[in-house]
Subunit: 348 residues, 2 copies
């Protein structure tokens, strides 16, 4: 295996494309020698953007793609129809092993569909989950799944728990990460049908450090490392996190502007506050990986700026160095072997 | 109908019972002449508590109940087994029309079960939803349902939308309140099976001001008045709201304490900040009504202090004055009439 991580980067996706995406690529190659970036998008536009910077030329290469998939487009149709889009061209490079990873700030739907259709799932993985990192008071937790495939089955959630544990341990360096399932109470008998069916399966799973139910209230305090839920609930959690955070900070700022006294105070607290709040900013923690695919696919926030793009690229290096996909393959294989054994012993 | 609102108050439920509950009752009768409070709980304990205050004696009456239902008890068993508990005694008074409303800071499960079993549903109401008010940047929104009955059907959600609209219009004074369904995207084709089935039903419903999907991110900004979802999702939203809010404020406080400069600033901003943040505190907005029952049942937060208890009691007065239950009855009746008509025309 080569020591260089080759990242296909969708230069046309996201609110700040292509400017911030290209700048993010430049930041990444300025930081590390062992990255090669394959920028996909309109060649002349990207050439012009790159002219703005000084950087090691051999680490960034433009791969022409004439089309762009817009956020509002129906994902399946877009992936099928726009063969020469920056997303499709980049994902095909991952599939053909011309790139190790793919990073995009573009349409989440297109990235999810493209990941499954173009890159393809690891054998045995039933459904690839999208797993963003949530900032907490103790660092970060992995929220798995926030993807587009809702109405999951218990067996999906068990695989999410395993893949999430591998990611937190290998990429985030969390030893023996704790796993919880999102529930509406701490007791085992609580929950909806899905949670009640999944709970005993997770409890019986020896490969993970399952700690039981986690109520949504507890998530921001960071006591659980891997937070398992189906995608509808995950999506609500991810977006509400962002919404409450944003609204509350707006409120705090308003509160500070209500009197002369508080305005002076605000000037004094501002620098310290800004530094602390940075820890609670999801964009500081890189993009969300789509796990269980044959190559790494990372979705960064649509509003990502250069720094987040750069962080997402650097994340790909750790992912490759740690052989995450080999570890996932092994875990899924183990699961299937034990299923076969069970079935065989049942037949006997 | 009498002009006095009779409120049965569970004096033994919640983290701060009976002290804060009794104090809340006293605060309420000091504010309004047209309330009568029936305090249920251990007679000698409550007598002693009441001795601490000066208040209009004829407005508070103790109704003895020797047992207490603890939060951890299985609700159905507790409601059946503890006939002389403060919750069961109070709810029976509502059933027997000796009280108009019931307020409790005790076991949510017991209140939900008791509401259905003892007070009983309005004819035609399929499932009574628990509907707390969420603080937003524009005031409050009603989150319906956060109860204990998960895995709802589309017809339940349609009734929630109707009952929630009546509550927001009549009790909260919001004219023609907007109704949204919690979803993972703005488009009609997005969502899980439940949301996809419910969406067209809400769209076709002429009695409500349906505005489509609402993403969790939007909730804290307060652009939708009635937020419809099934109870598992509602519970996650309610608890995460609380969790993110609490964690973020802790972070803000930490941030202000990092340097001498910011500490001085913190002293200056504190009073203004405290006043602004009060608006974003759920407890300021009274308890959550359990809608669709023959009498009003209000669940206040387990950690409620006197002020929240008092607010919940005052809420009952508006509820009675506005004839909410008559309005709900009429709306459900209308629904059933139109169903019958549809069935008849289909037969023809």
């Amino acid at each position: 295996m080569s020591d260089v991580t080759r990242v296909a980067l969708d230069a046309m996706g996201g609110d700040n494309a292509p400017g911030e995406i290209v700048r993010g690529a430049v930041m990444a190659v300025q930081q590390r020698k062992d990255i090669e970036i394959l920028l996909t998008g309109r060649e002349n536009v990207l050439k012009e953007e790159l002219l703005k910077y000084t950087y090691p030329k051999d680490q960034i290469r433009i791969v022409g793609a004439s089309e762009v998939i817009e956020t509002a487009e129906p994902p399946v149709k877009a992936i099928r129809g726009k063969k020469d889009s920056s997303i499709v061209v980049a994902m095909k490079m991952v599939k053909d092993d011309e790139a190790d990873a793919f990073v995009s700030a573009g349409s989440t739907g297109a990235v999810l569909v493209g990941g499954q259709v173009l890159v393809g799932r690891i054998k045995g993985v039933e459904r690839p989950p999208l797993a963003p990192l949530l900032p907490t008071l103790k660092g970060v937790s992995l929220l798995i799944d926030c993807g587009a495939n809702v109405d999951a089955r218990p067996s999906h959630l068990v695989q999410f728990a395993k893949m999430g544990s591998i990611y937190m341990e290998s990429v985030m360096g969390k030893k023996n990460p704790t796993v919880g399932i999102v529930n509406i109470g701490a007791e085992e008998e609580k929950g909806n049908a899905l949670v009640k069916e999944t709970f005993p399966l997770l409890k019986a799973c020896k490969d993970i450090n399952f700690v039981g139910s986690v109520e949504a209230r507890e998530i921001p305090y960071g006591n659980v490392d891997v937070i398992v839920c189906e995608a509808f609930v995950g999506n609500v959690i991810l977006k509400l996190y962002e919404g409450v955070g944003g609204a509350l900070l707006k409120k705090v700022k308003q509160g500070m502007m209500t009197s002369l006294r508080s305005k002076i105070g605000a000037l004094l607290v501002k620098p310290a506050l800004k530094a602390t709040m940075k820890d609670f900013d999801a964009s500081e923690h890189g993009g969300a990986p789509l796990l269980g695919l044959k190559g790494l696919v990372v979705k960064t926030h649509g509003s990502s700026k250069a720094k987040e793009v750069c962080n997402s690229i650097l994340q790909c290096v750790t992912f490759k160095e740690q052989n995450i996909n080999e570890k996932i393959k092994a875990a899924i294989q183990k699961e299937q072997d034990s299923c076969e054994k069970r079935e065989q012993s049942e037949v006997k």
